[in-house]
């Protein structure tokens, strides 16, 4: 089987890899780099649990081939809090507002919403709903997730 050499930049760190070209970014993150914070919920681009940021934009990692991601800055949930363990304000808000239940959708949702807040620091409720629409959550009913985002937006005023 042909393999392809490439460098993936994940959370600011370069990884030299030799990969079969059909492997998804999701599988490579989880199985080659041990970054299991990115979840596999459907492997078909429907649920959003595998959301990561590619150059700041949210994508379903299951729908991106790892070899397509070379040369771009990949951010996973492991790269969201600072190296000294300081949580991102949105992560703090998720905890405070009860936006976490089973937690399986949480990493993907956090990344989608961080991308939103970077583009739109004070989003409306509708904008939050739109940004979250690709991240299915079966536990929370989304209410407390939206509350968490609004609290961060409010405090950034």
């Amino acid at each position: 089987m042909t393999r392809q050499s490439l460098v993936l930049t994940v959370n600011g760190k370069n990884h030299a890899l030799d990969l079969a070209p059909h492997r998804s970014l999701l599988d490579v993150l989880r199985d080659e780099l041990g970054l299991t914070g990115t979840k596999k919920g459907c492997d078909a681009g429907d649920c959003g649990a595998c959301t990561v940021l590619l150059d700041g934009a949210p994508v379903n990692a299951c729908l991106v081939l790892a070899v397509q991601a070379g040369g771009q800055e990949i951010t996973t949930i492991e790269g969201v809090s600072s190296s000294d363990g300081q949580l991102h304000p949105l992560q703090e808000a998720f905890i405070e507002h009860g936006a976490v239940q089973c937690g399986f959708c949480t990493p993907g949702a956090v990344l989608s919403l961080i991308a939103l807040l970077r583009e739109t620091p004070r989003p409306t409720r509708a904008e939050i709903q739109e940004a979250l629409a690709g991240n299915l959550c079966r536990c929370t009913g989304y209410v407390q997730i939206i509350d968490a985002v609004q609290s961060v937006a409010d405090s950034s005023k």
Binding site: G41, L87, Q101, C102, F104, G134, C139, G141
Partner: protein, 753 residues
């Protein structure tokens, strides 16, 4: 009720940090040295005889460690809750019963190789006509899904109270309707997954997402003849269960793979396999009849439920027992005849799903009450109020016990939350509708048998450094039980939350606690924990009393100290007392064993009200939920953010149930095998305004007065939305889910436009 330093407070979840940072290890995140990957070959046919399984090609592939068929399995090859009649692998010569039946398994060195080897297994089938309609399955002469189940009856549950014939004779108005409810998929985001391995001493370790480690160990023992002393089952943090992981899922298959391949094995179902495999909410046909006097007083209720039980019993007898009971709701009904039958078919399997049979009943009951109100020309809220259980009343169902009746309080609150009814702009194609519905959700009070015996155990240990371990065999599904138990222990010992560590879901380290279902953990495990901490508190107080030369009765545990009431100087650090207890040989590990004192009934119950304002556009069929309000009697709110999380989450699942979700099968094949076809609510589907409130009428035997609330919101919210839509259009809704296309059809039929 303000007592408590951590109980009732906005304490953050103990598992939240791990979850927001991606550090929490779910089953599929585990990596073991030498780990191989398993793959199950499922039958593509709902009903077929397995003629031959040819594994030769798969066995000769590089990287394939083991190929397994029924003839390789030790033990009975049968497992299953209630009736152990489910094969692990369907053997040659036998028939498959649905598309979730497994015929072979492979273990290989990578996931990709396992997939390829599974595809290389050639199975020859003789195709047989599947039985896909419960009505047909009930007919004489129908083929039997299980030879032992005459008429394909999985179960029949019946309840008689008073005399319905007399009740209907004395009724001045009688209404009747048949309702159809869909198969709802739990749609947890984490598919079934786990790892298993045998250690050097021959112990089998199964680490997996599940809702009942004890039941899983039992099934592994039954199916594979492994001694119970050599089966260790550890539950991982679960990425959503909602009942779908209550029965054993993949764990028996995984155990067989690890034992026969003699390597650590990981098995994760893909989404399509997951949707096909686990049991879902029973689809039902419910004929319901109500008789009342002109004044609205209900005289009689008669109900017949036919439920599609799917291929295996699973939890059907328990689920349908609750359907039968829940048809009565929180109302006084002097004459009742209700009957619920579960019928075997070759469709997808049916079993537990949040609400456990009650949501189907709530739809029929609350929709028919609105029909009765129309027949009586009476306000639907007034009709309900006239028939509410009154303070001191016990529910008619013998399955239920005592609980303070709070229906009038709920009515007051829900009306207040709802506010004035909105109106549509003039010349708009939007129609506004409103509904208020009620329900009587239930929870286990320690009466549900755990492997034959009722009761719930928990162990608590105070360490010599003053930190505390709690061992509780329930499972963290996201509902927050780990945090609630830590709060209770912290409260009892006067310690901060970070001094408490809660170990959960492990059949070896935790006393037998049974399954995580029936909204039972806060109540059952909480009470067991209070029994254990009560004895430990006494040990600590007596020891501190000796150290301080003060009577133990005059001491309290608070602020990480043992203190003399009102005299701050007379105090010892909690850790110092713990160390002294340890040094002097006091027992610092206690087990609490809680079981329902009365043993007279199955469930405790509470009360809930839901209300909705909707706008339905008769030009487009679109439904806008302008406002949804939920008020639940929680007994005592132990953790507000988590309690409301249960209300919001349950209500949105209910919204999906009523308006969006239906796992359709045709000839036993799923037509909605992915999230692209089986669409669940997204953030765009939630109500514009969503208010939730808890009222607190303490439950006498609940820990700190709490009741079980995990499932409550689902039952009541679905009929509330349906009735609001019906109110907006002036039509009757009898089949769920109701989507845009159904609204448009109703508009055409009723010539509303």
């Amino acid at each position: 009720m303000t007592h408590g330093n951590v109980i009732g407070k906005g304490v953050p979840r103990v598992d939240a940090r791990g979850k927001v940072t991606g550090q929490t290890k779910y089953a599929a995140d585990i990596r073991l040295p030498g780990m191989h990957y398993g793959k199950i070959v499922f039958s593509p046919h709902p009903r077929a005889r397995v003629l031959e399984i040819d594994c030769r090609a798969a066995e000769s592939m590089p990287g394939v460690r083991k190929v397994i068929t029924a003839c390789n399995l030790p033990g009975s090859n049968r497992y299953g809750y209630d009736v152990a009649h489910r094969p692990v692998l369907v053997p040659e010569g036998e028939e498959t019963r649905y598309i979730g039946d497994a015929v072979a398994m492979v273990v290989a060195s990578s996931e990709e190789l396992a997939d390829r080897a599974a595809a290389a297994i050639a199975v020859r089938y003789e195709l047989l006509a599947p039985l896909t309609s419960p009505r047909q399955a009930m007919e004489p002469g129908a083929y039997l899904v299980h030879a032992a189940a005459a008429g394909n009856r999985c179960c029949v549950r019946e309840f008689v109270h008073g005399d319905v014939a007399v009740g209907f004779q004395t009724s001045e108005v009688v209404v009747e309707q048949t309702y159809f409810t869909p198969r709802q998929e739990q749609a947890f985001l984490e598919p079934e997954s786990g790892v298993a391995y045998q250690d050097d001493s021959g112990v089998l370790h199964v680490i997996s997402c599940l809702q009942d480690p004890y039941g899983v160990a039992e099934d592994i023992h039954l199916a594979l003849a492994i001694p119970k002393s050599r089966i260790h089952v550890k539950g991982t943090p679960v990425g959503g269960g909602f009942g779908g992981k209550l029965n054993t899922t993949i764990q028996v298959h995984l155990a067989a793979m690890a034992c026969l391949a003699e390597v650590p094995v990981m098995l994760v179902l893909d989404r399509e396999e997951s949707f096909a495999f686990h049991p879902k909410r029973h689809p039902t046909e419910i004929r319901l009849k109500l008789g009342a006097g002109r004044d609205g007083t209900i005289h009689a209720l008669e109900g017949d439920v036919i439920a599609d039980a799917g291929p295996y019993s699973g939890r059907s007898p328990e689920v349908l027992g609750l359907t039968m009971s829940a048809l009565m709701g929180p109302y006084r009904i002097p004459n009742v005849l209700t009957r619920a039958e579960g019928i075997y078919t070759n469709n997808l399997d049916s079993g537990a799903f949040r609400g456990f049979g009650a949501p189907q009943a709530a739809i029929a009951r609350e929709c028919l009450l609105d029909k009765l109100a129309r027949a009586l020309a009476m306000d639907p809220l007034e009709l309900r109020r006239r028939n509410f259980l009154r303070p001191g009343d016990r529910p008619t169902s013998p399955m239920l016990g005592d609980s303070p009746v709070s229906l009038e309080l709920l009515t007051e609150r829900i009306v207040e939350k709802l506010g004035p009814k909105p109106s549509a702009p003039k010349n708009s194609t939007k129609r506004i509708g409103r509904s208020i519905c009620f329900d009587m959700p239930v929870f286990d009070v320690g009466a549900i048998p755990v492997l034959g015996k009722s009761g719930v155990g928990a162990a608590v240990e105070v360490h010599s450094d003053g930190s505390v371990s709690v061992y509780a065999g329930g499972t963290e599904l996201g509902q927050g039980v780990t945090t609630v138990l830590a709060q209770m222990a912290a409260e009892q010992f006067g310690l901060p939350m970070d001094r408490i560590r809660v170990e959960m879901s492990d059949n070896w380290t935790c006393p037998r606690a049974g399954r995580t279902s029936a909204s039972r953990l806060t109540f059952g495990l909480g009470n067991a924990l209070l029994l254990a901490t009560g004895r430990l508190r006494q040990t600590l107080l007596v020891r501190a009393g000796k150290m301080l030369e003060i009577a133990a009765e005059d001491l309290v545990l608070e602020g990480s100290e043992v203190r003399l009431v009102g005299v701050p100087a007379k105090a010892l650090a909690f850790a110092e007392v713990a160390w002294m207890c340890s040094d002097r040989g006091d027992n610092l590990r206690e087990e609490g064993w809680f079981r329902s004192a009365e043993d007279r009934y199955m469930y405790g119950h509470t009360f809930m009200a839901a209300a909705a304002d909707v706008a339905v556009d008769i030009a487009t069929g679109e439904i806008e939920i302008l406002k949804l309000a939920n008020v639940l009697d929680m007994g005592r709110v132990l953790n507000p953010a988590m309690a409301f999380g249960q209300l919001y989450g349950g209500a949105i699942q209910a919204l999906g149930y009523g308006l969006m979700e239906n796992m359709v099968t045709v000839d036993g094949q799923s037509k909605t095998p992915s999230f692209a076809e089986y669409v669940i609510p997204s953030a765009l589907d939630i109500p514009e305004e969503f208010v939730a409130e808890g009222v607190e009428t303490p439950y006498p035997t609940g820990p700190f007065g709490a009741k079980g609330i995990g499932e409550a919101a689902l039952n009541c919210t679905t009929p509330t939305l349906l009735n609001a839509i019906a109110d907006a259009l002036g039509v009757e809704i009898t089949a769920v889910p109701i989507g845009q296309e159904h609204i448009l059809a109703a508009v055409r039929n009723q010539k509303l436009m």
